[in-house]
Amino acid sequence: MTDAGTEELLDPSVVATVQGEPFSELPRDLYIPPDALEVFLEAFEGPLDLLLYLIRRQNLDILDIPIAEITRQYMQYVDIMKDLRLELAAEYLVMAAMLAEIKSRMLLPRPPAAESDEDPDPRAELVRRLREYEQFKAAGEQLDALPRVARDVFPGRAATAGLRPARRLPAVDLDELLSAFSEVLGRAAMYSHHQIRREALSVRERMSETLERLEGDRFMALDELLRPEEGRAGVVVTFLAILELLKAALVELVQAEPFAPLYLRSGDLMPGVGRDE
């Protein structure tokens, strides 16, 4: 008799099921059909469980077990288990030996100082183990009684159709950008004769800004683009940016007649511009 398998359909209140009939109580005597007895005996979780059953059945005090009587009953069950050729686990025999030992020590005359801690009741260790086992037997039942997911409580879940997972966008560090740039420049220098010069960023930026400002407007006067409040440096930057844009053929400069105001328009608006890509 070993621990039974895993997820048996064992209702804690049902000790055994015999030919489909659930039994919630073990019989009071041993005169029960052998096949039923086998099932009852199988239901014990081990010698401690069997002992507890014997003690509880007779309403005995666990702290003051009549060891001779309990041992006799215990051995009866063990004999029946043997007769039925139940796979009798060695633990049952170990317990039988322990009971016999306690019994023999109980029979010995007690020394005068019997109350001292030096010579405890020979049953003390058995009582300790029985109490501990009973505690955890009850704890197992309490655990089983706790509200359990999928049996008592059910995680609530609502559909999320149509809600898309957000992609978390990669983070980039400014230093990474710089190092990527320096690396690509270094590589370019190796296989190209292309001279890469550092250009004043403010001109580049102003080029992009100017393109942005020209977007959507059909024409923009040059004066509008130059902002005197930026000071001379600002005006120069813008002017250089416009020259660069003209050179790069990104904008068109239009003048209706000599000395008329200069207008700029974005390449996007120039005739024949297709869509992106």
Partner: protein, 191 residues
């Protein structure tokens, strides 16, 4: 439609998740500028109050907060599925209880309490369910594994911490052997 209030956002997020979410995880859904923990916890309390009497309740478990159908609806809900919920043998439940209350504990110690050899089926069941794990090895001859329960165990049994386990019943005489397990449990959160 006006901007949803925080408790409804939390309700939506918890129901979308279908599993417990920690306050940390709940903060994340608010993006780059998350509300403080306390604010989230207060909104969870308001949500819990709102749900009183409803078909769903907020429960605090070990891995966070979970919206769940309360036990009083189990009768109706269980008719949804043909399959009956798994039941566990006494051997499994006793072993689980011993590990839960006495962790970390070796196999030999479990066997000592139960008085029988521990079948490997039982430990496999408990580990496969994710309720028990090897928490380490004892520095003793043979370096035996010590077992402990997991957060999933607590989640599954509707507990937010081991201190919420039912108090061990005292058999025979008063005075607990393990007073640390008998500490009064402060009321746990809004659940």
């Amino acid at each position: 439609m006006s901007e949803p209030v925080m408790e409804n956002i939390l309700e939506a997020v918890l129901l979308a998740a279908g599993e417990p979410l920690s306050v940390d995880q709940l903060q994340v859904v608010f993006g780059d500028d998350p509300p403080p923990r306390r604010t989230v916890e207060q909104a969870l309390e308001r949500l819990s109050a709102q749900l009183t009497g409803r078909g769903v309740e907020l429960q605090r478990v070990a891995s966070g907060y979970r919206l769940q159908v309360p036990g009083r609806y189990a009768g109706w809900v269980s008719r949804l599925w043909d399959e009956k919920p798994a039941r566990y043998s006494r051997a499994v439940l006793e072993t689980l209880a011993i590990i839960a209350y006495r962790q970390p504990i070796t196999r030999a110690e479990i066997e000592e309490v139960r008085g029988v050899t521990l079948s490997s089926n039982i430990m496999r069941t408990l580990q496969e369910r994710g309720w028990v794990r090897v928490a380490g090895h004892r520095d003793a001859p043979g370096r035996p594994a010590v077992f402990a329960t997991t957060r999933d165990f607590l989640d599954y049994f509707n507990l937010s911490s081991l201190s919420e386990l039912p108090t061990l019943i005292e058999i025979g005489e008063p005075g607990p052997d393990h007073p640390e397990l008998d500490l009064p449990i402060p009321n746990q959160g809004p659940a």
